[in-house]
């Protein structure tokens, strides 16, 4: 019935019970009952069994070790949170409430985190008139304030490049100019996420923490992101930013109008990027960078509306896209007029 090695085991186990009908003695009986292997003569077989058991225990311990080492700034709820796309409405309500609470505790600000979904039938696109842009950088500042960026490094999703006239190679650009603008021999090109139709950053993400939504906006689930920075390396427009530090924002400067996929305060160690201010644009409002532009160089609208400003630009101006040869198919256009 039993193979010999199990029969021996079974016999010793039963004998122990027969010797102690009132229960195991505290001294030796416990070990014998729980781990009868200890009561066997030391043969090569038992030694190998013991080694195997030890290795198995070690492997199990290693496998569950992440549970024991949750970082201090990550709550258990956050650790066990599902991917955004798998969350039910109840889950979202609970998670948003928790995030609002955490923002209150960490920043002392009362905020509202909402779940903004794409407007059916809308497809966003952006255009910038490089004949008008003068490099004043108000868009960067507006983005910084609107999107609850880390104040310590003056983070922004936009970079205004100063380029010598005669080239369209953005790698020739310089971001740290601080003289009066515009200079005669220069032009200025703001670069932010181009919301590609064929986004390399989405392709490379190993955990699917970033994806393209129906209205064309590429979003990030900051709580699902593992911060590997593959997307930052993959983006040909250098449009993604990494949170090296926990953002520091004075309570009175925290923008309370927040979206889960957009401008809520991001955790340290996650990637972030321009999301066309989806907490505004999906409510029908204009992006913050556009409203701030003093030159009126920025144009935003719905590609599916034939009378939208963006379609006027595409039909009447000579537009180009950045690094067209890469096949990323941006939803972001530039033109001179």
């Amino acid at each position: 019935m039993f193979p010999p090695y199990l029969r021996a085991h079974r016999t010793s186990f039963m004998n122990n019970h027969a010797e102690n009908p009132d229960g195991p003695t505290p001294s030796s009986g416990n070990d014998q009952d729980l781990l009868p292997i200890l009561n066997q003569p030391t043969t090569r077989r038992t030694a190998l069994k013991a080694v195997g058991a030890a290795l198995g225990l070690a492997a199990f311990g290693k496998a569950i070790s992440p549970l024991a080492s949750i970082p201090e700034n990550v709550s258990v709820d956050e650790f066990l949170q599902q991917h955004y796309k798998e969350l039910s409405d109840d889950d979202k309500e609970r998670i948003f409430a928790r995030l609002e609470q955490e923002t209150k505790e960490s920043y002392g600000a009362d905020v509202t985190i909402s779940d903004h979904r794409p407007i059916p039938g809308v497809r966003f696109a952006y255009a910038i008139n490089l004949s008008k842009c003068n490099g004043n950088g108000k868009c960067m500042e507006a983005c910084h304030l609107e999107n609850n960026h880390h104040r310590g490094v003056d983070q922004s999703y936009i970079r205004v490049l100063e380029l010598p006239k005669g080239t369209l190679d953005m790698e020739e650009g310089n971001t740290t100019f601080d003289h009066t603008v515009p200079q005669e021999d220069k032009f200025y090109m703001p670069v932010q996420c181009q919301q590609c139709d064929n986004p390399p950053c989405v392709t490379v993400c190993p955990v699917e923490a970033t994806w393209k939504e129906d209205d064309g906006i590429v979003v990030v689930d900051y709580n699902w992101c593992i911060g590997c920075r593959y997307c930052e390396a993959a983006c040909p427009y250098h449009a993604r930013r990494f949170n090296w530090e926990q953002p520091e924002i004075p309570a009175e400067e925290v923008n309370p109008d927040q979206g889960y996929l957009s401008n809520r305060v991001r955790p340290q160690g996650t990637m972030e990027k321009c999301h066309f201010c989806l907490h505004r644009t999906r409510e029908g409002r204009l992006p913050a960078c556009l409203e701030a532009c003093p030159t009126g160089a920025r144009v935003f609208g719905d590609l599916n509306d034939p009378d939208s400003p963006i379609n006027y630009v595409l039909q009447n101006k000579r537009v180009f896209v950045l690094k067209e040869e890469l096949g990323t198919r941006p939803s972001f256009f530039y033109f001179f007029d």
């Binding site: 603008v181 409203e291 030159t295 007029d337």
Partner: protein, 256 residues
């Protein structure tokens, strides 16, 4: 039904599928070992199925050909546009404008006057074309606006208004009509939401939008957009070729 849906979505595959099905039925009818009564029935069935398949193919091809003209997003867009119930509000300048006369009141505030305050009892002089021609007042004005003279825009018949090139009176509040006489392309862009900047809503079914008028951004006498000094700069060295010099304390750090 599912077949039709598949066919509509990919016309190329539809032909392949139809061809495969007709091949199948042809093989079936030809491989029948008994060419008697049963054979006739099967051939009849095969013909019937071929007819049906042809009909399906024609219908689906018609659908596929019409598909580009009925984009699925179009009805949504037009529907939203029909609902557009908020306006684009264009900011209007004050009228008539007030000019500082160069004197201060007892509190030190500059005294202002309307154009007509002085010009009501002064005869217009058509020979005055530039600031240099003026003997008093307005000599501090910086004029840099093509070859326009004062009376190209200012109405000598009524200084509290402006005038178009054909002499038609136009109020200061309607200054955009005046500018648009020469700046047609800019006006066309403006009317299509591509010039002048804006705040508020891009979607007029959800809220209004506010826009500037010409003279909010362009000084009428020197309309070129002013030069600016950037005030905000992210601490972001990406793409910057001008690497800052290594600080002097760096070698010490290496030695430690």
């Amino acid at each position: 039904m599912a077949l039709i849906v598949v066919i509509v979505e990919c016309p190329t595959q539809c032909r392949v599928v139809t061809k495969a099905l007709s091949d199948m039925s042809r093989n079936f009818s030809s491989s029948n070992p008994n060419p008697a009564r049963g054979g006739i029935r099967v051939t009849g069935f095969a013909r019937l199925s071929l007819v049906i398949l042809t009909l399906v193919a024609i219908t689906s091809l018609a659908f596929a050909a019409l598909a580009p003209f009925s984009s699925p997003s179009e009805p949504v867009a037009t529907e939203r546009k029909r609902e557009a119930r908020f306006a684009v509000e264009i900011h209007k300048p004050d009228s008539p404008p007030l000019v500082e006369i160069g004197l201060n009141d007892e509190n030190g505030n500059p005294i202002t006057a309307t154009c007509a305050t002085c010009h009501a009892n002064r005869e217009p002089d058509p020979s005055v074309r530039t600031v240099e021609d003026l003997k008093s007042f307005h000599r501090e004005l910086v004029i840099d606006h093509g070859k326009l003279s004062c009376f190209s825009c200012h109405n000598s018949a009524d200084y509290s208004s402006l005038k178009l090139a054909d002499g038609t009176r136009v109020e200061f509040t309607e200054v955009m009509q005046l500018c648009a006489q020469c700046h047609g392309p800019q006006m066309k862009d403006y009317e299509n939401g591509v010039h002048g900047g804006m705040v508020g809503h891009w979607d007029l079914s959800r809220g209004p939008q506010q826009k500037n008028n010409c003279v909010d951004c362009h000084r009428p006498h020197a309309p070129q957009f002013p030069r600016m000094i950037p005030t905000f700069k992210p601490d972001d060295r990406f793409l910057d070729k001008h690497v800052p010099p290594v600080p002097e304390s760096a070698p010490d750090l290496i030695h430690e």
